[in-house]
Amino acid sequence: MSEAWPFAELPPEERAQLQAAARELAKRPEAARQEDLEVLIIHSRGQTFAVPLLSVLSVAELHSLALIPRGPAAVRGLVSVRGEVIVAVELAALAGGGQAGLSDLRRVVVVASGPRRLAILTERMLSVRATAASVFARDPLAAHPAIAGTDAELTSLVDPDALVTEAFRQLEQAR
């Protein structure tokens, strides 16, 4: 490793983590891509997320958001979709990033984890994409349990079960 490496100043532990991440990324092209996963690509606060289509119950326009007093920061409120009142989160905020302005949030993606429902608020929807689960490598730096992995284009694959669990955990903690 050359001393000119831009992260040479980092502590050894963080440098090792980055090296591990780099090795993971370097492996990806060699794997034959088998498109076994359909994902909905959504945008939140400058980040791109892939939500497995199988877990998506519905996509709707965001008309109105009711606030939850004392709710955690990532839980933006309640939305009504097809008659159901569902807790709504912002992915970027849940993953530790900032919040978008309410007026920027245009769409609601309702995901299911067993009988549980959670609404993801998003600024815009990009597309539905067929991809391979294997391209989303577990990022050793990703601290958030709801992110199952990241691909070469820095799209984060959402684990819907972990996402719902994490959002509800934060809600319960905020009581």
Partner: protein
Amino acid sequence: MSGGDALMAVFRDEASDGLTRLARLLLELEGVTDEKTLSERVRELFRLAHSLKGAASTVGRNDLTEVAHELESCLDKLRRGQLAPGRQLIDAALTAVDVLTAGLSEQVSEADAARVRAALGSASAEPARKASRKGRKDSRGEAPAAPAPPPSAPAAPQTPGEVAFALLPALAGLARSPGQVGPVLALLSALEAHPAAGAHPQALAVAASMRAVLQAERGSPDLERRRLESLVEAADLLQTELDGGATRAEAELVVRALEEVQATAAAPRPVAPVAPAAETLRVPVALLDAMLYRVEELVATKLRLDHQRRTVEHLQDLVAQVTAEQGPRGVEVRQRLELVRRDLAQEVVGLGLLAQVLQDDVRDVRMVQVGPLLEPFRRTVRDVAEACGKRARLELVGEEVRVDKRSFDLAKEPLTHLVRNAVDHGLEAPAARAKAGKPELGTVRIVASAQEGQVFLEVSDDGRGIDLDAVKAGARARGLLEAGRELTEQEALELIFQPGFTTAQAATTVSGRGVGLDVVRTNVARLGGRVDVFTRPGEGARFVLALPLTLASSGGLFVRVGRVLYCLPLSAVEEVRVLEPGEVGVSQSRLFARVRGQALPWAAMGDVLAQRGTADPPAKPTPAVVLALGERRAALAVDELIGQEEAVVKALAPGTPRLPLVAGATSLADGTLVTVLEPTALLASLAGMAAAAEHPSARERRARVLVVDDTLTTRTMLASVLERAGYEVLVAPDGEAAWARLLQERVELVVSDVDMPLLDGLGLTRRLRASPEHAALPVVLLTSLATSADRAKGAEAGATAYVVKTDFDPAAFLQLVAELTGAPR
């Protein structure tokens, strides 16, 4: 529909499911070779028959009870290995299932009952012949798949028994080709003509009866299943008889059964005088929930349309101003606009009516009679009484009252608590009852009634009543009541709903669970209901739960707090008013509003929602909402009172964690979603804030708990659980060490083991109770000693609560600790 009809409908549903399962298991039984599976299936079969018998007996259907009893007895023998699951037994059991199934809609005839008895009796006498008939079983089993044999072709029977055996495949052929009775008649002729048949007069009598039935059947396009089964049974009996095993009684029963079916062959069977079952369809509750959601959306759409109508009216006013000077053209514009308004108004009215009817219909579908839902409480009363060494029975009144199943499910827990309390705390022990001139068997009564959109569930007992002096003493000891303050009876009764309230008598199974009446009241209030209590010394206590008939509320008060709109259920709003600055003042570091001569706790709703410290009194007139739930009232300042609106409160989607301040959400006419606040939680939150303001020291010092246990593991575990929950924990390895610490340190609670060296938990508790300084200190005994006698010793020593280690549940334990220390939960 009367209560009896409703119970019968429940029975029919349940029995029908059970019989379907029975039939399926019986049919599968033949294919089971694995012993373990076989044993499991047989056990389940027995259990199903047993349950069916019990249920039939409960609804007074003795005819079904008898048949189910026959089936149960036979399956019991099978379960005990006294019978093998042969074909004959399975057929006989299926016959019983069929008779029972038919019996759900009409009375079981004596002939049918006899037929079942004969079939099951014959099958139960099977084991001796089992081995010899194995081969027959196989060939009989294959018969239905084979083409119907010609009358004389394959049989070539050599003995009367073989002729009889050939009857079975012939009857199977008859089942496939009704009316083609020739082959069977030919075999019967062969049997009757056989030289050896003369030795079997019973067999000949049965054969003659079969012939009579078949001749009546000749050419008939359809063969009633019941008749075919009788013929099969008769053929079975023929074999048995010709093998030398049937009794005269069995033969006579079969002959009678055949005569019966023959008699009914010509005329249709009269319908027995049993009330016809209303046609019902089972629908998953989730589907009804979904329908209700959709209907509520429809109501919301109607509200939005109405909003549009008002917009058009406003537009009309504007247009009228603009077009006033424009002659006929202006008039035409105004007329057209008026037509649009009228059409829209009519549509709104029509849609409103439709939505209302549909909403009522869907809600009505969700309404069930409360009787069957209350039935399980009989078991609760019986079990709790047994655990307390008492005798008790449950009386249900008003079983026909209909409630929203969802409301009832949510109210079940508080109701269970009240029923348990009634037995545990309300009823006296048998000896005390006898002494008081009461029957030893105590009565707990649940009375259901409905009035003006509310359902009332009263739980009463004929026990000792609530000892108001003990209540007041307990409240004083807990610091809930100032010394010397006089209370009315109702005020004293209200004390039992105070968080942390308990009496020394409460150290029993129920109180050991760490749930107080304050939790009951809170949970009922969360449903939009309330709990009231009444008592008469020596005659018992009565708790009345008033619940909304359905959960969807129809009225809300909309307020603005900051820039956010909130909705408050109107049921909790006593009044709204604008408070002048002079009407809000400070007393003992707390803010109060003077409302109609009363001082009510006051806070800005924004502060309560954000859990911020109470602000200064307002300097200008402030709109306020007076919330009232039972005895608890408070005035909350808002930024704007928007007004009262029809509101459909939607609960949060299933599986969502409970949000303490949120009851649900509702849509405004323009589609804006508004959070519906939970009044109970608002009041509780305000009370918590007020308490913190009143006692600043409480915020600085955490409640302190002394854990006394001689095992390090338990001490460590308890300390860890308590410390994680924010308590300060002191520990001691035995009662003496604990006592020494208590003389030096102040604690809010003692959690002690019982069995310890030097001074045990009971001794420590007694010593504390005898000490003026520590008499009121709550003591929780946490022990592995679990018998009623052990609990009684704990109560006798003066323990506040008794928790058995094997039942230890950290969450329930912490709830109990919070109650006893007065800490916020």
